[in-house]
Symmetry: C2
Subunit: 508 residues, 2 copies
């Protein structure tokens, strides 16, 4: 039986395993500041890769990056009532702009420096960006207006979980203004499709794109769409959202344009966002009992070279061989960028290094000892095929030339393998034949994935009743998949003729 | 006489000119949130270029990017007394984590949701990063530890000026821990040299690198170094700082390591930062009475193609010609990256576009009309040579092939020209023969640059007296240049034997 690198397995305790991967892969840690984490170099390196790929997709869509204030005056917020109701419960409020020492020398907010109007630390930026848009949009010629920002936001959270739910997190938020509903809807769905494509191609994380039911909408939105990914414990992770905001925010911020006939109309706006939460999704999609497995497209290092040094006269020849190998690999392009190769010449033992990189999820680890140098070989460990069938480490010994020649293809293969594995899991864990949710989801920790049911999209009290009923089973509605099959019967909940299909499952 | 694109000249009113460039080049604007600005696409595009070049330099030095919390508990701050004194006067304080509506429906901080310990919005992150370092550093093997973050910080400012002084700004802050003073000093000066090199090669902005006098040190630092740039009005802009922090912050945060002999020692730490303020420096170094002039290395678009369309049947041929030209240029590399070429196919008139790009400071503007298409030519406007001697626009008509063949060299030439021009101004405006500061700096608005004097580096009350004396003349000490000539006489202020040279000048 294989002895794995982590102290806890997914099967034994998925939540503890998740924390263990974060610690052992050195991704992040608690900061000592309530609800906030420190993102460490390997975790931040993944975020930098995510930013780079996503930013290119955003720019390709004609969206321009800007930067808007961290602070939002209360008066901006008060203008959009639904929005306030949704966010007022969890915001950090700045009330003073100076500290003084009290009689005992302790720092306290200076009562003389109380702000006339408290400032909110942005939980999202519709209101402050809407204010800018009202200045920038004058005529139909200014539309569509499409901006994005990469920023930190704060939503006060009582129960936090690293990457998934922290009081402060990093994200991108796109905001656009359009002449009419049709154009805004095209943008809403374009952003959703951009996210789906990003999740599947960059993160190798298959998702279901669909519309959130009414009660799960972003506060103030007319329609909210999401991509939902299935984690290995069968729970759903909302990994990105795109909102059609109608004219509500435009009205609150006074975003109006003069059309070709000289009339004035309100803009239709959208917003869409993805965050560091995606890193949590990558961990729970691809991690195994030996740690993280990084998809090559977002791995800070795609190939790590570990010299097997022995503190003797052969060491220099090994290091020279490794440096030449690194240079050969760096000259290659994978996914249209130079291959990212790291030579780990640090002080640790080779065995420690190997398992360190396994836990971090480097896609390919190359170990180079004196015999490899003599024979012109490399010892290759692929993170997607770590063990052989007999449970032994799956190290392949190949010639250096052959490895280099195949390296780009191998990285592509690892990316594909991770996706294929996750996709098969997603597909096989959506059940469409369940008639008794309670029986199906019996037991708190049972891995059962999601259930797709037909429903009639009820609203008001009927919807509330269904939501309560699901809540008692710890279930939530995820989304109504855009590519679902047509309906052909009665609503699972109401018995009325079904109009669409909705996914039901557990979440975090 | 040339009629310029801006409504106010540098000569007439430098401060108003600065605001006008920011508005006309569409770099940033007031946000409606006190002390905070909106950075617009062209301004943010410059920041993205700055980030890219600087980030590569930071990584080349073996520094790893991380992310640390926005909020800092008061207790973290209280540990370093000098640091508190320096920053306590200008910080945003979070005291509540929820809003409620009062009797009149107005949003107010919820008294039930008052934080037990107020949180500071980071003005800088020594304390919170020190806390992380105390966990990360155990032994000499962990040293040096070098991290950096790209982040927003907040320092409450009463009088703000876009890019130069805003309550919130964007920056990078590097933080390192070392085994001893010598290693920490090497890092402090390495960062300073990185900044000098960046300012001069990327921003084409010549600077003087040196040590700040004692009273200008970062709160809590043992030594502070800066790069100082000279703006066109002769004032100094501190464009980056690097601090040797001694063991004070390490003691406050308990950053200790076990050395090779088993003993425990405090680390010596450093920190260094540059911010969006550099964009203000670029404006005031290179801007002219027609707007911004962007150094090619940080220009979001290095070459802009403006088709001269006339709403007739020739338009398509012009657009095709422009698209082919753009493709030819994009295939080139300048400064080791693909050339950034923008085809401005927007709805505005060609004349409007031309002056828009002049004001934004695009290094090269190409105008393409039907005759250019027929003749295989391009009309070239270089932003560094906008007018001929006779005051007419300096448009050169050259063959498309010749332009493309020389494009990379031309971009390099523009970068060099901007630097050479600014360097000549810096060099010719540092006076070393001034004996009467009051007479030399007479008149508030007189452009007189800086004065270098010899001094004995007095401390305490003597230094305070000198600082007061300078303050009365609206002067400050900038830094003691690292490459200053040896001293050879008496201190300008005290008459004691001089030990070093210090720059004196006005600032913002």
């Amino acid at each position: 039986m294989v002895k794995h690198a982590l102290s806890v397995t997914r099967q034994a305790d998925f939540a503890a395993w998740y924390q263990d991967v974060i610690a052992e892969a050195d991704l992040a840690e608690e900061s000592g500041v309530r609800g906030c984490m420190v993102i460490k170099p390997w975790g931040y390196g993944i975020w930098e890769r995510i930013q780079k790929v996503m930013d290119a997709a955003i720019k390709d869509a004609g969206v321009q990056n800007c930067y808007f204030p961290l602070f939002i005056p209360l008066s901006f917020f008060e203008k959009e009532a639904d929005h306030v109701d949704g966010f007022a419960k969890e915001m950090a409020v700045v009330t003073h702009h100076r500290l003084i020492q009290d009689g005992k020398g302790k720092l306290i907010p200076d009562p003389e420096a109380k702000l006339e109007e408290p400032l909110i630390v942005r939980p999202t930026s519709e209101t402050v960006i809407g204010s800018a848009m009202s200045r920038w949009v004058q005529s139909w010629r200014d539309l569509p207006l499409k901006v994005n920002q990469w920023a930190n936001v704060v939503r006060w959270e009582m129960r936090t979980r690293m990457f998934l739910r922290t009081s402060e997190f990093l994200w991108q938020e796109g905001h656009t203004a359009h002449a009419d509903r049709a154009d805004a809807m095209v943008e809403t769905l374009r952003a959703l499709e951009m996210y789906r494509n990003f999740a599947e191609t960059a993160l190798a994380m298959p998702v279901v794109a669909g519309e959130k039911p009414e009660h799960e909408r972003f506060p103030g939105a007319v329609a909210t769409y999401s991509i939902e990914a299935m984690m290995q414990d069968g729970k759903a992770l909302q990994a990105g959202t795109s909102h059609y905001l109608g004219t509500g925010f435009a009205e609150a911020a006074n975003i109006r344009y003069q059309d070709k006939d000289g009339g004035h109309s309100l803009c239709h706006t959208t917003s869409w966002g993805t965050s560091t939460r995606m890193i949590g999704g990558v961990i729970m999609t691809h991690g195994d009992d030996d740690g993280l497995r990084c998809p090559p497209r977002i791995a800070p290092h795609q190939i790590v070279i570990v010299p097997m040094l022995r503190d003797n006269e052969e060491d220099q020849a090994i290091l020279d061989y490794c440096a030449a190998l690194q240079a050969d690999l760096k000259a290659l392009d994978a996914f249209r960028e130079p291959v990212r190769v790291h030579l780990d010449a640090g002080a640790n033992k080779a065995q420690t290094k190997r398992w360190g990189w396994v836990k971090k999820g480097a896609p390919i680890i190359l170990e180079i000892g004196p015999r490899d140098v003599a024979g012109g070989n490399v010892a290759v460990i692929r993170r997607d095929r770590l063990y052989k069938d007999d449970g032994k480490l799956n190290t392949a010994f190949v010639s250096k030339g052959d490895f280099v020649a195949a390296a780009v293809a191998t990285l592509g293969e690892i990316q594909d393998n991770l996706f294929t594995e996750a996709k098969a899991r997603l597909d096989s864990n959506i059940r469409r034949d369940v008639t008794d949710l309670k029986a199906h989801f019996a037991g708190d920790d049972k891995f059962v994935g999601w259930v797709e049911v037909q429903w009639s999209r009820p609203t008001g009290a009927v919807l509330e009743g269904i939501v309560e009923q699901l809540k008692a089973l710890k279930l939530t509605m995820r989304n109504t998949p855009l590519d679902a099959a047509p309906t052909d019967g009665a609503c699972f909940f109401t018995g009325e003729p079904a109009t669409e299909r909705v996914l039901v499952g557990r979440t975090y």
